[in-house]
């Protein structure tokens, strides 16, 4: 390690508010007391705002974060005096939490190209001498020697485009202004950065004010202007202060004022403070504001280049645009143009904000894929959440969803997707963001910020806001989306200025990319992200596809009212015991307790509740003779069909279920191994449904034993198809026909239904989902010596539950990630191995994940005598549907209405895997319930789903009490050596005290003063 020569302390507004000035003082003090020859410089923004206060030790570039005054002595003694890194304080690379003290080792730093920000974090913004020492004002000197036309030519050739957002070629703008007639011309700088989440300009003004001043002098020289105005919002006091100091210094040193550098140029600058009206970022409004009037735009033409400030030709550029100018003149247009893309040259600064690990400031070459900015530099989305969208360009911009993460960030590509480059605000949103709510927020912002001059912006955005608000409150009506689109389009076309023309963008862009989310709010009265208060009673309940009253049953368990809790659960989901074992608990992902420590173990409490069930608890059933006489057939006795039957039975129907296999239960009985779901558990809940008057006939396979037409002929008024997706997808590699290759569906069904399945000695399972893990663990239990799971992506991306993967490894399963099968290698006419290719991650694909691509390593063979593929499931719709004209999607699944489950044939309903593709038990239950409600509504002409009404939970709750401090309880597992050779249930029961403590962790988000008593 080299000897530390200087220490940069970030004095950007973010770090200052985190306490960097005190750290700086302490550093200076510590260094002075120890009489060390190290310079401490308070610089502009270093970039990684998330770690503020940050301190950079040069020349090696050792970065310390979240430094407190108390840490200073240690840093000085260890790093400065002894050349050691203090790992505890070192910058941590996002996601890995590994200390990465050297900036050069972290993509957040090493993938940046700093041109505009070249001096930020390097020079002392309060010292013109420091600026000059770093090459400052050389560009001005050079420009004065070149002459105005050559300067403009250089800017034009550089390809620099306006960094305020619109991307107009800067050189061309300068040329227009130079050619404009007029004896007085003005040079203006737009520092009215108003987008929520954007702080590029502020950081530049704070961190490198002289580069902006220098660029404006050059611009004045180029266009023939002698007066400039820096328009900076009053909310940026630090920027205004530092700019003011810099202007004073520049004037004192002869860079501003008459006869600059003795070359006859006269130019001076003044700061004008704006009062923070977003519209003043619009050029004509900005100029009106400088003139001292209400900041409002005016029609163009005349364009500012001809008639701008006080009617004189005026050149207006954004702060960042100016920041590039000295670098372009110093290093040449060709050098600048070597960065970026064909149409968008150079670099762009982005302010990373929102749900991203490395919030802060980055500068990257234009054209870098969005995914790289978010994942490589930004470190991805924190807290295990899934990336949902990035909002670029603030309220005037648009969002880019997961499927376009590979978009190169340049002006044209972004606008094709309905977003804009904007000034560089980049707000990352994760799965917990409701896009309708987000659109409402931005619309509210522009509505507030509208100057009120033209009706489309003044009234139109208000009307849009009213519609969006209504949707968020659950009062949306059919046609609202179309109304928003139409109104948005009209506002875009008719508004006076850019603010109005772009005001509908957040709505139009979210409708474009997240239409289904709007539809969920309007049609299903559901906020998928669990955000909109009018639609979300509690986030867990909202996240549950079946809308189970989670806080309710958790609270009842806490009161030891197990029977009541079970009845409450079965109001919406009959399979309390099944789901207690197999549910993938989306409820826990949304649990607000995770903001305190960890989510409540909802599935754990449910498991306890189910374990404690003595006599089967059924909720209300309303007998109805008329309904009982109505004939409804249900094909498939899986969770979807059973749930449909269950809810129909609660309304007094006596539906008939036809099941193809010999045992009812569907996928849970056929493919979920008994160590996860003991057979008896499922049988109990199946029997419960049968006892409600549901008749199940087994060994009745649709397409073999009967057809849908037969059912009609037998007098069934409505039919529900819950046939699942029972066929394994083929791998599509050579050698797949070799004996010893099987698919997981067949393998698991074989074992679970018929009791035995052939298992090899060395088994390879291909796939990364739950079926793959179930297969691997079943194979282990059936005596396989080795089981290897091949998955072509990374472990993070495996769809199987993390805990299942982990337990499979404990049982001896080997997981090989980034490995793709190329060919099944035969040996003696049977499977001898799988030729594999190591993969590496490439571009982002439509799923928002990085697409695996072949790595450079040569293929290799994994020897084995059995290959089981578990890469997907489908169904044979042709055989099932026969000649009936039912609409089927491109993916082979049956198209059914999201709200009613009705197919294109009006008496035929469908739900579960057969229409949604392979999904969960609880999704299937929800689909069955929806179809039951719709079938009843079709047969009776009215909706009778009495269980859908929210019932206030009458368990006492005092919101003022401190939340319990108990940590999340873990599931108890059977020891590995006691489970590997058998199918005994792995997860073990909780004791009462654990369950009660866990239920006490619930924050009771369902609590409303009117519905709960203290």
């Amino acid at each position: 390690m080299s000897k530390v020569t200087s220490i940069s302390v970030c004095a950007g507004a973010g770090c200052v508010s985190a306490g960097s000035m005190a750290v700086s003082a302490a550093l200076k003090d510590a260094i002075a007391t120890r009489k060390l020859n190290v310079r401490v410089v308070e610089t502009g923004c270093l970039g990684p705002c998330v770690g503020g206060p940050v301190v950079l030790c040069q020349p090696d570039g050792i970065l310390y974060q979240k430094l407190a005054v108390a840490d200073v002595a240690e840093v000085v003694e260890k790093t400065v005096m002894r050349g050691e890194v203090v790992e505890r304080l070192a910058w941590k690379r996002a996601g890995t939490e590994a200390p990465t003290p050297l900036c050069a080792d972290d993509p957040f730093f090493n993938r940046q190209v700093k041109i505009a920000l070249r001096n930020c974090g390097v020079v002392d913004p309060l010292s013109i001498d420091d600026y000059i020492a770093h090459g400052g004002y050389e560009a001005l000197n050079k420009a004065l020697g070149m002459g105005p036309d050559a300067v403009i030519a250089e800017v034009k050739n550089s390809g620099l485009r306006g960094r305020g957002g619109a991307g107009f070629p800067t050189g061309l703008k300068w040329e227009f202004c130079r050619k404009a007639k007029g004896d007085v011309k003005f040079v203006l700088c737009n520092g009215d950065e108003g987008d929520p989440g954007a702080f590029m300009d502020r950081s530049l003004l704070e961190g490198d004010p002289h580069s902006i001043i220098e660029a404006m002098i050059i611009a004045g020289f180029a266009i023939g202007g002698s007066q400039g105005y820096l328009y900076v919002r009053a909310e940026y006091p630090l920027a205004v202060e530092r700019l003011g100091i810099a202007i004073g210094q520049a004037r004192k040193q002869g860079f501003l004022g008459p006869n600059i550098l003795g070359k006859g140029l006269n130019f001076d600058l003044e700061i004008r403070m704006g009062s923070g009206a977003f519209v003043c970022g619009e050029e004509t409004a900005l100029m009106t504001s400088i003139e001292g009037k209400r900041g409002e735009p005016r029609p163009r033409p005349p364009f500012p280049a001809h008639s701008g400030l006080w009617g004189k030709p005026s050149l207006l550029n954004n702060v960042e645009t100016y920041a590039n100018i000295p670098a372009i003149l110093n290093k040449g247009a060709a050098w600048y143009a070597s960065h970026g893309t064909a149409k968008s040259k150079g670099t762009k600064v982005f302010a990373l904000a929102g749900s991203i690990r490395n919030t802060g400031l980055v500068e990257v070459p234009i054209g870098m894929p969005l995914g790289d900015i978010i994942y490589e530099l930004g470190g991805g989305v924190p807290n295990g959440k899934r990336f949902k969208a990035a909002q670029l360009g603030g309220p005037s911009g648009g969002c880019i969803p997961r499927q376009h993460l590979d978009v190169p960030v340049d002006y044209e590509s972004l606008s094709e997707l309905g977003a804009i480059m904007g000034s560089g605000g980049l707000i990352v949103m994760d799965e917990d963001t409701c896009m309708v709510d987000m659109a409402r927020f931005f619309l509210d912002f522009v509505q507030d910020e509208s100057c009120g001059k033209c009706p489309p912006c003044r009234i139109g955005t208000k009307r849009m806001l009213e519609i969006v608000t209504r949707i968020c409150e659950g009062k949306g009506v059919e046609g609202d989306i179309e109304r928003l689109e139409e109104l948005g389009k009209q506002i875009r076309e008719t508004s006076l200025c850019g603010l109005g023309q772009t005001a509908p963008n957040p709505v139009l862009s979210t409708i474009r990319h997240f239409r289904s989310e709007y539809e969920a709010h309007i049609r299903e009265k559901r906020c998928p992200a669990g955000v909109c208060a009018g639609l979300v009673r509690a986030p867990c309940q909202s996240a549950c596809p079946a809308n189970v009253d989670v806080p309710g049953f958790i609270a009842l368990v806490g009161q030891k009212k197990i029977a009541e809790a079970l009845r409450l659960h079965r109001e919406r989901n009959p399979f309390a015991a099944v789901c207690a074992r197999v549910c993938f608990h989306t409820c826990e992902d949304k649990c607000r307790r995770s903001m305190v420590d960890d989510a409540v173990s909802i599935r754990g409490v449910k498991r306890y509740m189910a374990d404690e069930e003595v006599t089967t608890q059924l909720p209300e059933v309303r007998p109805n003779d008329t309904n009982a006489s109505r004939k409804v057939a249900i094909v498939g006795a899986g969770p979807a069909g059973m749930a449909c039957a269950y809810f129909l039975a609660r309304l007094g129907y006596k539906p008939q279920i036809l099941e193809g296999e010999s045992r009812p239960g569907g996928m849970p009985v056929q493919t979920i191994p008994a160590y996860r779901l003991p057979r008896e558990i499922l049988s109990q809940e199946v029997r419960m449904i049968e006892r409600m008057g549901v008749n199940i006939e087994t060994n009745q396979r649709l397409g073999r034993d009967f057809s849908l037409d037969d059912l009609r002929n037998r007098g069934f008024e409505a039919v529900f198809l819950g046939v699942g997706a029972p066929i394994g997808t083929r791998l599509g590699v050579p050698g797949e026909e070799t004996p010893g290759v099987d698919d997981a569906m067949r393998f698991l069904r074989e074992y679970n239904i018929r009791g035995s399945a052939p298992v090899g000695k060395d088994v390879v399972v291909v796939g990364g989902g739950n079926a793959a893990i179930d297969t691997a663990r079943t194979a282990i239990r059936l005596g396989a010596k080795t089981v290897t799971v091949l998955y072509r992506r990374t472990r993070d991306e495996m769809p199987a539950y993390a805990e299942e993967i982990e337990e499979s490894e404990h049982e001896g399963v080997v997981i090989k990630v980034l490995t793709a099968p190329l060919e099944i290698v035969a040996k003696d006419g049977k499977v001898g191995g799988v030729r594999c290719q190591l993969m590496t991650l490439g571009d982002f694909d439509r799923s928002g994940r990085r697409r695996p691509k072949a790595a450079s390593e040569a293929p290799f063979v994994v020897p084995c005598d059995q290959v089981i593929t578990a890469i997907g499931q489908t169904l044979d719709s042709k055989t099932l549907l026969g000649a009936l004209p039912v609409a089927v999607g491109k993916d082979g699944f049956i198209i059914a209405d999201k709200v009613t489950g009705r197919t294109s044939v009006d008496w035929l309903y469908c739900g579960g895997d057969a229409s949604s593709g392979p999904s969960s038990v609880v999704e299937a239950v929800a689909a069955g319930e929806r179809a039951a409600v719709a079938i009843d509504a079709q047969l009776t002409g009215a909706e009778h789903a009495f269980w859908r009404a929210d019932v206030a939970c009458n368990v006492p709750f005092n919101p003022d009490d401190e939340p319990s401090h108990v940590a999340r309880a873990k599931m108890q597992l059977l020891a590995v050596d006691r489970r590997c050779g058998n199918f005994r249930e792995v997860e073990q029961p909780w004791t009462e005290s654990v369950a009660l403590a866990e239920s006490g962790r619930c924050l009771r988000c369902d609590y409303r003063e009117t519905t709960c008593f203290k």
């Binding site: 409002e296 509208s450 100057c451 009120g452 009706p455 208000k462 875009r492």
Partner: protein
């Protein structure tokens, strides 16, 4: 000259012409709600949108200059839909009680909506907050009807320099109103009513005096008389579909008789009287300056315009000594009606109810100034604008166009042509000059048709000077003196002129100021819509009325002579001083 195609028509117009004007030339009428030719071109209302080939968005035709080779489309589906949406949005935020609105049938928003074929408003929702301001005697504001076209703001600030109305708040709540949530009465509003005259809807209207007038007419204890200002006769016809500048003096008198006024008189009578009082005052000031060599406030400013008076009280209090102390003709009439005339018919002042019909809203304010009660009670009880009189005639069921011509009643019904031209900018000055010239020189007024051309017309500030060749003995000191006079109309013009004078860049003896552009014929109470074409036509009508009279000079009026001999004594005499003169006081600007 750029040549362009609008729809299918080829048009050639001068450089700088807007698409809107070029279209008009091509016979295409593009609707607009905010545009005010020559006054406001801000492209705010978005109703005049057109498609310009090659442009990214639709263009506001009022603000977009033509370019050679331009192709413009004004009736495409896109344009019609855009205009419709914009107007629907305006309607969705409009306190729409069309049936009972005072502007129904005379509302630009209503007619634009009708012209665009809007039969339903697809976007409903909140309305911006409603503020009703009835604080001033002249103007009422109802912000719920404001469509933020900003005509009032521009007129108030740029034409009148009054600075009472501004755009307030932002976004949906933005509204044209005085600053800081003040009422109009609390700010420096001169009540000229130009805002009401340009308002496309009923967001700003004159204060209703129709109701009290009908009540007085129905009151058997009241003797109700009416005076009509000279500008009314050139404007009233427009309320009944006649072209601007149609003289309807006789029909107006007939209508007033039919409405039931006990006496129909002419404000012209006291206009003539004003000339004598104000002219004498000027001569006295000149004498004091030139003969007595005493300090005296010169130039003298006219004082017939209440908007101007209030403006001076707010913004130029140091010029108040320069203002003629003569009351305006309306107030002279009121004072004489409740003294001289009341005595003549044997009534007490309080039993007389004096109504005036004025082209002006500020007259409503002037009538209730506390000092305007020389008769012991308020001299003028109610002031109807021309528009209000039009509405009263309609309410009375009178078929105005079918009326015969009738004569004003006596004794206050005969006047000179000089009184008529009070209605025009430059008219008071010309009337004064006619009399002063004759009195001073004893020779006929030497201008063609007796008009002083340099101070007629719509130029904002006009001036003329002439040397007095000979003078009668009383005024001998004026012989050889070059008299310099100026005329300003539109308060912003007046403001500029006064600043110039204060800066020593100009000097005059006598200055006429009229608050409204064009003078009273363009007053804030005149029928809508008043543009320069209409102003010009009304001015010509007034000149025609003047020229049609035998008696062209105020001092020739027998009524004036009778008033002095029977009642007043002499100009600037004690009785005149009491009844016909007033005083002014500075007013704080917020």
């Amino acid at each position: 000259m750029p040549k362009l195609t609008i729809d299918s028509t080829s048009v050639e117009v001068p450089e700088g012409t807007s698409i809107l004007d070029a279209a008009r030339k091509a016979g295409i009428r593009i609707p607009s709600l905010c545009h005010l030719k020559g006054v406001q071109t801000i492209g705010a209302c978005r109703v005049c949108l057109v498609e310009v080939e090659g442009a990214r968005t639709l263009a506001a035709s009022c603000a977009m200059p033509v370019a050679d080779g331009m192709t413009v489309r004004t009736t495409t589906a896109k344009v019609r839909q855009a205009r419709k949406t914009v107007v629907e949005l305006l309607l969705s935020d409009h306190g729409g009680d069309c049936q009972t609105c005072v502007r129904s049938g005379d509302c630009e928003l209503q007619s634009v909506a009708r012209d665009l074929g809007i039969t339903q408003v697809r976007y409903e929702g909140d309305r911006h907050c409603r503020l009703v301001d009835t604080s001033t005697p002249a103007l009422d504001r109802d912000s719920s009807k404001c469509i933020m076209c900003r005509r009032c703001i521009t007129v108030c600030n740029e034409v009148q320099a009054t600075r009472a109305l501004w755009a307030q708040d932002r976004g949906f709540q933005s509204v044209a109103a005085p600053a800081f949530g003040k009422s109009l009465a609390e700010v420096a509003c001169v009540q000229c009513g130009q805002c009401a005259a340009v308002c496309p809807t009923a967001a700003i209207t004159e204060k209703d005096h129709i109701t009290p007038v009908w009540a007085a007419l129905a009151d058997p204890t009241k003797h109700v008389i009416v005076q009509t200002a000279p500008a009314i006769r050139a404007g009233l016809g427009e309320c009944f579909g006649l072209p601007g500048g149609t003289l309807v003096t006789g029909k107006m008198v007939a209508a007033l008789h039919r409405i039931g006024f006990n006496g129909v008189f002419d404000t012209n009578v006291t206009a003539d009287l004003t000339i004598l009082e104000e002219g004498t005052e000027l001569l006295m000031r000149l004498k004091k300056a030139l003969v007595d060599k005493q300090p005296v406030a010169l130039p003298q400013y006219t004082s017939c315009c209440p908007g101007w008076i209030k403006f001076a009280e707010y913004y130029h209090p140091d010029t108040l000594p320069n203002l003629s102390t003569a009351k305006s003709p309306q107030q002279m009439f009121g004072a004489l009606a409740k003294t001289y005339y009341a005595a003549k018919i044997g009534k007490k002042p309080e039993d007389l109810y004096v109504v005036s019909v004025m082209p002006c809203t500020a007259k409503k304010f002037e009538a209730q100034r506390p000092e305007m009660n020389s008769s012991g009670v308020q001299d003028v009880d109610a002031v109807l604008t021309t528009r209000e009189l039009g509405r009263m005639i309609t309410q009375a069921g009178i078929d105005f166009l079918a009326l015969p011509d009738e004569q004003m009643d006596q004794p206050l019904g005969i006047s000179s042509g000089a009184a008529d031209i009070f209605a025009n900018t430059g008219g008071v000055m010309e009337a004064a000059l006619r009399t002063v010239w004759c009195v001073v020189t004893g020779t006929p007024f030497p201008f063609e048709k007796m008009h002083v051309a340099p101070i007629a017309g719509l130029e904002g500030v006009k001036e003329v000077s002439f040397t007095i060749p000979t003078a009668v003995p009383d005024w001998k000191f004026l012989e050889g003196v070059t008299v310099k006079v100026a005329v300003a109309h539109g308060l912003a013009n007046a403001d500029r002129l006064i600043r110039k004078i204060k800066a020593g860049e100009a000097s005059y003896h006598f200055i006429e100021v009229m608050a409204c552009p064009g003078g009273c014929i363009g007053g804030g109470g005149q029928p809508r819509f008043t543009d320069n074409e209409v102003r010009e036509a009304r001015m010509q009508a007034i000149f025609a009325e003047d020229e049609g009279k035998q008696m062209r000079m105020s001092h020739e009026s027998p009524i004036v002579a009778q008033l002095y001999s029977e009642f007043l004594g002499k100009p600037l005499g004690e009785k005149s001083h009491h009844l016909l003169h007033t005083h002014y006081a500075a007013r704080p600007v917020l």
